[in-house]
Amino acid sequence: MIEVQDVYFTYQTTGVEALKGVSLSIRNGEFVAIMGQNGAGKTTLVKQFNGLLKPNKGNVLIDRVNTRNISIAQLARKVGFVFQNPDHQLFSETVEDEVAFALKNFGFNEETIEKRVTWALNLLDLTEYRKTSPFMLSGGERKRVALASVLAWDPEVVILDEPTIGQDHQQKETLRQFIIQLNSQGKTVVIVTHDVEFVAECNPRVTLMSEGQIVADGRARQILTNSDVALKAFVVPPQITQIFQGLADLGFPADVIDVSEAGKILIEHFQAERNKR
């Protein structure tokens, strides 16, 4: 679905080379977390996926079409991008208008727009706010409106840029389940995040970036527990992993990222000890 071929990108205004030879393949229906510290190039990379940025060297192919050959609007039809700050998008008088905005831009007819808006609002629990002004809603609600406005046109790929910023535990949990549900419906989901604990709980494919390059690519479990790689990319491993890294010399596995799994391993060990006596 998304094919990145040896891409180089430099920002014109600052002269900073943000991507230095990045190659990546994302298949239909995958769930990928692009991770790395601030400035590693994550957002620059995902902006190539919907054509907001075009590579200086190399190619980006979306559904086998080179991003240089079609417009951003055409790409947006397939690749939905939810920006970090919902306030950078919201401008309409009602939530309804806001969600319908993209649909109108893409030329859907009145009937379809009506149906899709209802569907999207329902999906994100926003039906009661249909006629409310988006500016009157709380931070979390505004985020949901932004998300609804992107899902409304049912793109095949959904990119979420730092979706967990400023969210409390409950909100993150709801988001996590929502993302997993989206993915299970066949959507390709790409999240850009530095929230290690969040990724640990989802266990997606992780593409780790550092200084404009991809330094690791694999299952969250492998990447987040690999201390060399994590160090290179300045990533702090999840708490559970840190705990088990401190127990490594006592024979415990080093690739644990989940609380319940950690609990099971320890309990089994303790029970075995008990039974020995």
């Binding site: 902006k47 919907n50 907001l52 417009s71 951003i72 609007a73 947006a76 039809r77 939905g80 991008f81 920006f83 700050n85 306030d87 950078h88 998008q89 919201l90 401008f91 905005f101 993209a102 831009n105 893409f106 500016f135 406005s149 992107v150 046109w153």
Partner: protein, 264 residues
């Protein structure tokens, strides 16, 4: 936006950069007054060339030239306008100059103004400028508004770009459509920008209040502008310039114009 490039301050240090902004402004003011006093090409050309050594000393030649280049469009328009006007009503052209000479003189006068302000802004950091304003007894609210505005210009520019990206990612096409449609296309960009600016101002106000804004009527200052030798030199130059200009204007008759110098 290259005309603005010619006015933006650079982080460079030179004797000109270190001069007190108030003194530099005095010089610019004198240049302004002198330029307005003359209609003749000769004195205006002298005035035009006068700041050049300062520009070279400050090392800002490239940006300074760029500002002149940016002003060229307006300058040419002025030239053509004055030329046509001069031919249509020759009685209004002072000193019986040929319209061509008059138009060129006005062009030069305009350029003198642009170049003086350009060199001022190129060699004065906004920080320095706000300090000068403060010490010139401008109420602090204004200086603060000025500095804050300058500080947030790059931030707002970035935000505008992000907002444009966000809306483009929802299918907004800014280049399409007739004039009316294009103007309307900017609404989804302006509204978030304005809302964001308002929110930002609120947060700024909170931070200001939390740091004792308004505690004392007379604020103290970490930095203080002191006049130094270079500043005195520039003051003397400015005074000499002003005096010379007034003298030449009122006591040298008639001032040679190209028209009179040309064989009839």
């Amino acid at each position: 936006m290259s005309v603005f490039e010619g006015f933006r301050f650079r982080h460079v240090s030179s004797p000109i950069h270190r001069l007190d902004p108030r003194v530099k402004f005095l010089f610019v003011l004198v240049m302004f007054v002198a330029a307005v006093m003359f209609y003749e090409l000769l004195p205006l050309s002298i005035l035009f060339l006068l700041p050049v050594p300062f520009v070279l000393l400050a090392g800002v030649q490239r940006q300074w030239l760029r500002s002149l280049r940016g002003a060229l469009f307006l300058a040419v328009f002025l030239f053509v306008f004055n030329l046509i006007f001069g031919y249509l009503s020759p009685g209004t052209v002072p000193y019986g100059m040929a319209p061509l000479e008059y138009a060129s003189a006005m062009l030069l006068r305009f350029l003198v103004l642009v170049e003086s302000f350009s060199i001022f802004f190129l060699t004065t950091s906004p920080d320095h400028l706000s300090l000068a304003l403060e010490q010139s007894h401008v109420p602090y609210e204004f200086t603060f508004a000025f500095t804050t505005a300058v500080r947030f210009v790059p931030v707002l520019a970035e935000e505008a770009q992000t907002i444009m990206d966000a809306q483009k990612a929802r299918g907004l096409e800014l280049e399409r459509g007739n004039f009316m449609k294009r103007v309307r296309n900017y609404i989804p960009i302006l509204i978030p920008l304005i809302v964001s600016a308002i929110r930002r101002s609120l947060e700024l106000a909170e931070a200001m209040e939390s740091r004792a804004w308004g505690a004392v009527k007379k604020r103290t200052n970490l930095y203080v502008l002191k006049m130094r030798r270079g500043d005195l030199v520039l003051i003397v130059i400015s005074v000499i310039l002003l005096v010379t200009a007034v003298f030449v204007r009122y006591y040298v008759h008639p001032l040679p114009t190209i028209t009179t110098l040309l064989p009839k």
